[in-house]
């Protein structure tokens, strides 16, 4: 990995943006956890803590008009694709000004205007949908790409296999990003597949496969960029496996007791934010002072967004009937 080259290519401003997005995701998830456990936030939570490099590295290699599809764990992808903190927080609080007017909730964060369809709470289900998005680009002769994010758990779903095969035979511009965080809910991926690397499955579909270090945002960026360039120029899809780890439980109050301490420590030593900080300091993009400044700004932004979410207006109960159909009222 030639860090000098990629750092030069990305430039100071973009590198700082990426760093700031990673810090935002980390702090956002910490704040949400606190609010949820205190009982101040309704619904459920699925957190992205530890995996920040994946969302940020992938989205840094995309254009605004490219489309991403996320999962039940959408906050990291949403921040990386440019959704506002306020629209996310208002949605988490079930408010009218949320990104889905309070109709989606924690697992369906998204905003098509920012190039992110709503998060999908059925494991693997976004995979064939993303193939359809990419097919639309191909039929309309648009030079856009689609990215599907999913976890290791999704790779045993029928939708994964059908989606990858369909993408391959139609040669559509899609990148399948498998964030292998080692666990599907509480089940270790090692227990449910017999191969060492998920990326091996790409061969079964005659598709290009690649692996990236999901704790190194610059590696993720480079691997994604290569896949995106191929897809955009009509050279077909890629399955990109990113090795990563979630520091938190699967959802809600899950204390992740199924992960060993050795495993947790191994991954925390590779922490993506600390690793990126080191590189940026060494390359004189950031110093201690600037880092503190960013952390403080992000803290303030999140506090402001939380306040906004809490104070935003509730939807009217009768709005339940809206947005089911476009040109017809819901029959009662």
């Amino acid at each position: 990995m030639n860090y000098n080259k990629v750092i030069e290519e990305l430039g100071r401003e973009k590198l700082i943006t990426m760093y700031r997005q990673m810090v935002t995701i980390r702090q956002l998830e910490e704040s949400i956890k606190y609010l949820f456990l205190e009982g101040k936030m309704p619904g459920t939570i699925h957190q992205y803590t530890g995996m920040e490099a994946c969302a940020v590295g992938v989205c840094a290699a995309l254009f605004k008009e490219d489309i991403i599809a996320s999962t039940h764990r959408p906050n990291g992808h949403a921040i990386a694709k440019g959704l506002s903190l306020k629209s996310i927080l208002a949605e988490l609080y079930g408010k009218k000004t949320g990104c889905s007017k309070g109709k989606g909730g924690a697992m369906h964060i998204g905003n098509i205007d920012k190039g992110m369809i709503n998060g999908n709470a059925v494991v693997g289900a976004n995979i064939p949908i993303t193939v359809g998005i990419a097919l639309a680009f191909k039929l309309k002769k648009e030079k856009r790409v689609a990215v599907s994010f999913f976890g290791d758990g999704a790779t045993n779903e029928g939708a994964f296999h059908e989606g990858l095969n369909m993408a391959a035979v139609n040669n559509v511009p899609v990148i399948f990003v498998c964030e292998n965080n080692q666990y599907g809910a509480s089940t270790s991926i090692k227990k449910v597949i017999k191969i060492e690397n998920i990326v091996e499955r790409s061969k079964a579909y005659g598709m290009r496969g690649d692996t990236g270090d999901g704790m190194d945002v610059l590696d993720v960026y480079c691997k994604t960029k290569e896949a995106v360039e191929l897809a955009r120029s009509g050279q077909g899809p890629t399955l990109l496996e990113l090795k990563t780890f979630r520091y938190c439980g699967h959802s809600r109050k899950d204390p992740n007791n199924y992960m060993s301490n050795e495993e947790k420590e191994y991954w925390k030593k590779k922490d993506s934010i600390i690793f990126f900080e080191k590189i940026l300091k060494k390359k004189k993009v950031l110093n201690k002072e600037k880092i503190n400044q960013i952390e403080k700004m992000v803290e303030e932004e999140i506090a402001e967004a939380i306040k906004y979410g809490q104070e935003a207006p509730e939807p009217k109960p009768e709005e339940t009937y809206e947005d089911v159909y476009i040109n017809m009222e819901v029959p009662k």
Partner: protein, 338 residues
């Protein structure tokens, strides 16, 4: 121009694809040279004019409906096809959790104008190529359901479905297609129509009175509409004057038309080719009971298939499907008793 239902659908799909470059077809065996044009010849030959937009797929229903959903989000208007409606179950997540709910979960920002074509009907193929699946989707908000019983309505409803911004599922009966050549069926009924030149549509949500009458209202879709008409002729000889309603759209139901007919006749029988349990008759019957029960002279009647899977043996299959004679007998009994 007189066309069979399959020919009429083919013409309507061709015209929609010509009119709007965002319309495309996706499905199994739909555009294979030397093949059949879907299981029942509907898309036969369309690939000659629209090679890029007739997307032949693997046998892969999750992918077909997932791809249709994603493409529709990006402004395309897919017509997704399953060879037999029964295979919709393979794609149930994509249809019910995704296509039906995407708009809602996005707070109205996304739209998914997907047309889903599903051949249905009991046709000598046992239990898994035979079901009338309408009721499974009747309890799924977010999808409109249409069921054309004639070639004229097939054209009008297909056009309306393609131009609609919401997902629409079209149920087509295998014995009404009039498919020719190697895909011809036994036991078919003629559903062909004169198709006018003009660009008409049949509005979604509008039923039609197929036969006017005063003694009793029969409500049936697809094959059961045709059988109800035959039953009405049998009963006419005995002085019973049936009104036959074809709902054409199963969701949203044309309750205005149904209510006005039942208020006039005071009696109603709902005829279904599927089991009684949780059926269309349960929905229509309860709507009538909740809203206009004062007008009823007799209890609401359901004439349906038994609560069993579809059997194969021809004698059992004949027993399973409400035949015109059975419909007539049950209606006659209903009138004699009330």
């Amino acid at each position: 121009m007189r066309l069979s239902l399959a020919e009429a659908l083919r013409m309507a799909i061709h015209d929609e694809m010509k009119r709007d470059s965002s319309v495309f077809c996706i499905g199994e065996d739909i555009g294979i040279s030397g093949g059949y044009g879907g299981a029942f010849t509907v898309t036969l030959g369309l690939e000659k004019d629209f090679r890029e937009r007739i997307v032949d797929t693997p046998i892969s229903e999750i992918a077909i409906f997932g791809v249709a959903c994603g493409a529709a989000m990006m402004g395309m208007r897919p017509i997704a096809d399953v060879e037999y409606g029964d295979f919709l179950f393979c794609a149930m997540d994509q249809i019910v959790n995704q296509i039906a709910k995407v708009r809602y979960m996005s707070g109205g920002k996304l739209k998914v104008p997907v047309v889903m074509r599903a051949p249905v009907g009991v046709t000598g193929r046992g239990a898994q190529h035979a079901q009338n699946l309408e009721t499974y989707f009747l309890s799924c908000p977010g999808i409109k359901l249409v069921a054309p019983a004639t070639a004229y309505d097939a054209v009008g409803l297909l056009r309306a479905a393609v131009r609609d911004d919401d997902p629409v599922m079209i149920f087509e009966h295998k014995l009404l297609y009039g498919s020719k050549g190697p895909r011809q069926e036994n036991g078919v009924l003629d559903a062909s129509s004169e198709i006018p030149e003009e660009d008409y549509i049949v509005p979604i949500g509008k039923g039609i009175i197929r036969r006017e009458g005063s003694s009793v209202t029969l409500i049936g879709s697809l094959m059961m509409m045709h059988y109800s008409l035959i039953a009405a002729e049998i009963l006419a000889k005995e002085g019973i004057d049936c009104e036959v309603i074809d709902p054409r759209t199963l969701w949203p139901l044309d309750t205005e038309l149904i209510f006005s007919s039942v208020m006039k006749t005071g009696r109603v029988a709902i005829v279904e080719e599927s089991p009684k349990q949780g059926g269309i008759g349960a929905e229509i019957g309860m709507q009538i009971a909740e809203n206009i029960s004062d007008y009823l002279l007799a209890p609401i009647k359901r004439i349906t298939a038994p609560n069993t899977p579809v059997p194969f043996a021809p004698v059992m299959e004949n027993f399973y499907v409400p035949q015109p004679e059975r419909i007539a007998a049950e209606v006659k009994k209903m009138i004699e008793e009330n």
